[in-house]
Symmetry: D2
Subunit: 240 residues, 4 copies
């Protein structure tokens, strides 16, 4: 399985507080724990690289793509967004993290204004309740995951109904949020995972790492039957 | 309830065969049976009108929009597509007919390449099986609807899983198709209905008319709570 | 529409505190607000009546059944449970309230041990977040409903995935709960609504009454096409 | 992974035609191809054994259970049905084949009269269309699987909406059927697969074997977090 971790990589360069938590960037933190957990082919890409590091060649060699972005969603080129979107339809797995809900890519895949939700930076406690203990992504996770301090997200999260709702988050300020969700689009599987505000050490938490490793395995589609039809009619199945 | 029926209105002008079935256009056929079934405020709009007849004012006064298009999807302006998309998110009902699956609008709402499916113009029999007899849109419909001759559509239909799968079609040539589907996007309800090829008198069939009348009632959201949030944080709910 | 409100009616007779809130029983409180909201045919039935007030004749004349039970689930006879179950499959709407999640009837309809969930009688605040503003049952409800004091329920709620998840509840003690849910079984529509602990005046709240009136309208299936097949083969559809 | 294949094992003993196809019984045919495909721990059990071969000890050592039954559903004891049902809720995978839709077990898990559907023994062609090429169970399966002769099943299949609809079948006589479906109940994953009439060599087909091997892997839940709560309240989460 070939993984690419894409990160906007702006907060880490601008803010001392974020740099302390992720000295090599969020992407390298994710890459490191994936490697420690047995994944062997993990590359990274960032906004500032040519074509944001997501050339057709890179995508063609990516089975699962992680996506973290926040401040500069609008600086991601429409061409790259279309390219990633097409690869998802063809079977590449996609894991969208935290504020990636507001990226051009995720909105295009959802068909909604998924950037819309309640939010508050108040360092509140988030309790993520596991409501699908049967699911591969929840393997090894107990009844809940407690994050001592996180950015608050609240419903209404403007998304279509997910294929599967795996976790619901509680926040001390009064909100709830659907925080671990699966979708599929074409032959591609998508996992949205809410936690990961840049000012808290979320991606250093073992339970979060466990969920994201599980998600990479789940999203990997080794032999996608990308069934497509061009703009021509098909003959009847009369030779059976 | 205020209804607008949008039709591309090209086939009817180019092809004698289509004109015979729909002398005033598909839009007026739909308008007529809606009026006969008790709807009182039914307008029409077509591609050739300024802004395709779908100005902001028209859309603001539309509760449910029907959409039929086929040959000239790409001639619908992106601006109008965005406008309709936004109104759906705000609570306008949308009923997408037949080849509308390939319209810019429907693809944008689905987040997939929903134009992709098998198809064949062979005048085959289509049998639509009712699998949700509990559903409001299926009220008064028995176990199946038989269409003597229709264009064949076949899976794989590249869509996200619908909220509800109401009917599955059988075609004499060997295909099946998910042919009556509901979705929601934001506060708007969407119904996709497969039948309606221009060379067969589909919209003259009483059962088809019954389903579309039911769908208009179902899609109507009289008081949409379009819950939205701008780009500012919300305070905690501490004053309870 | 003919409604029957079924109540166990035991708490009200045993506990002064409950009797103060519901002097004529929970069933009559519900009946009263349904009548005030325009429903005209609303009967009641209770556990202590012969056949628990749910004879075949009563059920045959019931379009929508409300169900409130708690202490004496096991005293409901299996025969009556089967009878109600069969009527749901045939198209009767069912609205299951609060601790009804643990009734024989609801467990039989779910196919799970739906009695299993976290709970605590601590008079905590419950905030119900509306996540389907497009839905008929949510008509007239804003972004949330706040219940100052309620029994706490928490996930994991052992149910199959609902057809639709309409509200998620937050509790001050740290739990979340899927608290307004739709299902269908056969031709019957089912709504589960979490609030309604007997020691708090939940069913006197206007927003709760609004939701339950909406739910009655939604669950009503005026002409259920209860499509069934006996134990004999069907001929091919060759006479088309 | 420990697999148990349960078979009623009656047709094979009564009918020469069936015995020719499955000389050692359907269960041993399934066991054989599982072993050939890399599964190493595959046991069988049949109706005639004490407790139908499904003692608590056997079930406790079973991770995935296959179920084939037809003529003698009612001879399966309620006690064994309850025992299997409980193990599914606790995380055992279950693969229900063909006429198993009418077993006590499946009906109890569905909460519907899932025995109800159209059927006809006419040796018609069944074409199974793949509508989820992204799904693990569909790995290596193309756009369709063609079964030259099979028993016909037709909608309406009285089930709740499945979690995932993987395949839809077409029959030459005019019917369609949702023929490959996933559900979950508690921590257990369930796969229903329609093909497998005893008079046709269905389980000898490579594509069918591929799907069932994929399904065994999919249904296996190595570490089910069977989150349960007894009948006592939980304390608030205040020690965080």
């Amino acid at each position: 399985m070939r993984i690419t971790v894409w990160n906007e990589y702006v907060h880490e360069k601008l803010e001392e507080k974020v740099r302390e938590i992720y000295p090599n960037g969020i992407h390298n933190c994710i890459r490191d724990f994936l490697l420690k957990n047995g994944f062997t082919d993990v590359k990274t890409a960032t906004l500032e690289e040519p074509e944001h590091g997501l050339t057709q060649e890179v995508l063609d060699q990516t089975d699962v793509l992680f996506w973290w972005g926040h401040m500069r969603h609008n600086d991601v080129s429409d061409e790259v967004v279309q390219r990633v979107y097409d690869r998802v339809q063809d079977g590449m797995g996609l894991i969208v993290l935290h504020s990636g809900h507001e990226s051009k890519l995720f909105k295009k895949l959802m068909g909604t204004n998924s950037g819309q939700l309640r939010w508050r930076e108040a360092g509140e406690t988030e309790i993520m309740w596991n409501i699908r203990p049967d699911h591969p992504i929840m393997q090894g996770i107990g009844d809940k995951v407690v994050i001592p301090q996180e950015e608050t997200y609240g419903e209404l999260f403007h998304i279509p109904d997910p294929d599967e709702l795996l976790m619901i988050s509680w926040f001390s300020g009064g909100e709830v949020f659907r925080s671990a969700l699966t979708f599929h689009r074409g032959a591609g599987r998508i996992f949205y995972f809410k936690p990961g505000h840049e000012t808290f050490p979320i991606y250093h938490m073992p339970e979060v790492q466990k969920i994201l490793c599980n998600a990479a395995n789940w999203a990997y589609n080794p032999a996608p039957s990308s069934i497509g039809y061009g703009h021509f009619p098909v003959p009847p199945i009369s030779t059976l």
